[in-house]
């Protein structure tokens, strides 16, 4: 029973939210708003996938802000833009995803190699990323003029933006990786019992670094997406997203302690946060109250999902 509530509780909460907003706001019920919702959640979804891979290890990744800043600047300088003569197009995007992966790899290597808690290494890598972004920014904001990249945000198929499809594809891929690859399964296993994996002779460090790298690649992709949306390279592209992603993952049922949850859970969390932000505007809640309402709902959601488990948890830290 407790197991079920943990798995399906967030989904039920999401449905309840949707139902409430649908009743209160006629605009919420429109197809246009669905398209808007999915578009609005696209970037957060990709960032949250990255964060989820690290969370299920039992680690935490706070590097999204910095990594995304560096990647947003990098991509806007690599595709056709107002500052450099480069016009690498898709290759540029790939390079930036690789740059994100490199940052993730750095976090992983520092955590595993130096045995420093991931909390600190990712914070450090975030600062490094912001520094790199600032160096690339050099006082002049690059404006993207590559029509191909800009089409990501404005082009639509069946009414949904291409970013929506890209995010959906990434989610599907991430789910497959988690379900069907050794990396995905071992990441889950590391969260469940790292020592047992070591006993079995598995090189845990490698898989940890790989998970961090995957997270970094997600941040890189998210930075490209946000740059496509905004049309310029912005250092603060990822500001606040680390926090939002971890909140989304936790609300969805991916646990901070690791080993529980996964991509599907986290995506429910992303939808909850996105629906909440969208719905509160549509039903006309005062801007002052919105943040407080969001905070309370989040804590309530987490509390509710943990409630049935409270007797099983001997030691809660």
């Amino acid at each position: 029973m407790a197991e079920r509530i943990q798995t399906y509780g967030p989904a039920a909460a999401l449905l309840a939210l949707v139902a409430v907003f649908a009743v209160l706001s006629p605009q919420f019920r429109t197809l246009g708003n669905l398209q808007n919702l999915l578009d609005a959640g696209a970037v957060l979804a990709v960032v949250t996938i990255g964060a989820t891979y690290v969370l299920i290890l039992g680690c935490i990744d706070l590097s999204a802000a910095g990594v995304m800043g560096a990647c947003a600047l990098a991509v806007s300088l690599l595709v056709a833009n107002s500052r450099t003569a480069l016009d690498l197009g898709p290759l540029g995007v790939l390079l930036v995803v690789a740059l994100g992966a490199a940052f993730g790899c750095l976090s992983g290597v520092l955590s595993v190699g130096l045995k420093v808690p991931s909390f600190m290494t990712t914070l450090g890598v975030s600062a490094i990323g912001l520094g790199v972004a600032t160096v690339l920014f050099a006082g002049v904001q690059p404006t993207v003029s590559d029509p191909w990249l800009l089409q990501w945000a404005s082009g639509r198929w069946l009414g949904f933006t291409r970013l929506t499809y890209l995010a959906l594809a990434t989610v599907a891929l991430a789910w497959l990786v988690q379900r069907y690859t050794r990396l995905g399964r071992y990441a889950l296993a590391i969260g469940g019992g790292e020592d047992i994996l070591r006993l079995s002779g598995i090189r845990v460090g490698r898989y940890k670094v790989a998970a961090f790298t995957l997270a970094g690649a997600c941040y890189g992709l998210a930075a490209v997406m946000i740059t496509a949306q905004l049309g310029s390279g912005i250092v603060q592209a990822g500001a606040g997203l680390s926090f939002a992603a971890i909140t989304a993952a936790v609300v969805g049922g991916t646990q901070l302690a690791g080993g529980r949850g996964g991509v599907a859970h986290s995506m429910v969390g992303v939808l909850i946060l996105t629906v909440l932000a969208n719905g509160l505007v549509l039903i006309g809640v005062s801007p002052y109250a919105q943040r407080a309402v969001q905070g309370v709902i989040v804590v309530f959601a987490v509390g509710a999902t943990l409630w049935p488990l409270r007797h099983r948890l001997e030691v809660v830290k």
């Binding site: 290890l57 039992g58 680690c59 935490i60 910095g66 520092l110 955590s111 130096l114 045995k115 420093v116 808690p117 991931s118 909390f119 600190m120 290494t121 914070l123 450090g124 890598v125 975030s126 600062a127 490094i128 990323g129 912001l130 520094g131 790199v132 600032t134 160096v135 920014f137 790292e194 020592d195 909140t247 936790v250 901070l256 302690a257 690791g258 002052y288 943040r291 407080a292 969001q294 905070g295 309370v296 989040v298 804590v299 987490v302 509390g303 943990l306 409630w307 488990l309 409270r310 948890l313 001997e314 030691v315 809660v316 830290k317």
Partner: protein, 319 residues
């Protein structure tokens, strides 16, 4: 097998002295780039800057020693600043103890929720963070609250003998008081026992719930005091005044060498950690490092400092 136990004393000494060494090396390096840093005035100013951070991290260290974490301290300090600034005209000098007490109570409430509902401290204090922030916004009307008369807080922002900043003494005093509390009463060993081995502590008949609530209350109280120090130096309270100090405060605790997993650590370590973090925050730009590279250096150095100072023999799995 207790690994640490087999360490020769010399290794133990190295592990203990590492944060201090890291601080001195950093100071020396920055001083080499900018000799003015070593002037007495400069050093005292550095200490002055570190004071609110130190106080903020002091109580949170006790929560970390218990094996938990308190992410609400910065938001609580902001709330404290707003309350102090709004109450000072009416309550005069009594506003300070009132605010600190209230913050201690707020911390205790978080502790109670954590203990009674068995919600991880990370989540409870995360929720606390949003709640206190929202309350601060409401109480202040989303604006800065000026302190027309700064007498109630002047004691926290003067220079004794024209030289020593009083905030530094407040910070050292807070540290000393907490350290004494942990040493003179059984609280110190209880907190560490809970952090090291909660099952053993429970079966030894320790009042686990009460210990944790006290830890969170102390954390809330020092957060309130940190808010007071901030009001004293900005002559106003603001709903986001201390918010940016959360990560530096946690960094100060970790860089000092207190294990985030609980049990192992000490208050003096946080004192040194706050020094290191302040050096990184202020010293780099002071030494003329360009803002872009400052951020990169900060990242590298903070990871480096933690790598040097944490005692890996105490934890088998690093998360």
């Amino acid at each position: 097998m207790a690994v640490a136990a087999h360490l020769p004393d010399r290794r133990l000494l190295v592990v203990t002295a590492m944060p201090v060494a890291a601080f001195l090396v950093l100071l020396a390096a920055l001083a080499a780039a900018s000799p003015g840093l070593l002037e007495a005035g400069s050093l005292l100013t550095l200490a002055d800057s570190a004071a609110p951070l130190t106080v903020l991290a002091a109580g949170a260290t006790i929560v970390v020693l218990c094996g938990g974490i308190d992410l609400s301290v910065a938001a609580l300090a902001s709330l404290a600043s707003v309350l102090l600034a709004s109450w000072a005209p009416g309550l005069h000098g009594w506003a300070v103890p009132a605010v600190v007490t209230l913050c201690a109570l707020a911390g205790a409430v978080q502790g109670l929720v954590h203990v009674a509902f068995r919600i991880p401290s990370f989540v409870v204090t995360l929720g606390g963070m949003t709640l206190w922030s929202a309350l601060a916004l409401l109480a202040s009307g989303a604006a800065t609250v000026p302190m027309p008369d700064s007498t109630p807080t002047d004691w926290a922002f003067t220079r004794l003998g024209g030289l020593v900043p009083s905030a530094v003494l407040v910070a050292l005093g807070t540290m000393a008081a907490l350290a004494a509390l942990l040493r003179v009463t059984p609280l110190g060993r209880w907190v560490r026992a809970v952090g090291h081995a909660e099952p053993a502590a429970r079966l030894a008949g320790l009042p686990i719930a009460r210990i944790k609530v006290i830890a969170f209350a102390l954390s809330g109280g020092t957060a309130g005091l940190a808010g007071v120090l901030l009001v004293a130096r900005t002559f106003s309270g603001a709903p986001t005044l201390a918010d940016s100090l959360l990560l530096p405060a946690v960094a100060a605790i970790v860089v000092g060498g207190t294990a985030i997993t609980g049990g192992h650590g000490a208050l003096w370590r946080t004192l040194v950690g706050a020094g290191i973090v302040t050096l990184l925050r202020v010293g780099l730009s002071y030494a003329g490092v360009d803002a872009a590279y400052e951020s990169i250096l900060y990242g590298v150095l903070v990871v480096g400092a933690v790598a040097l100072t944490i005692d890996r023999s105490k934890v088998s799995i690093v998360k």
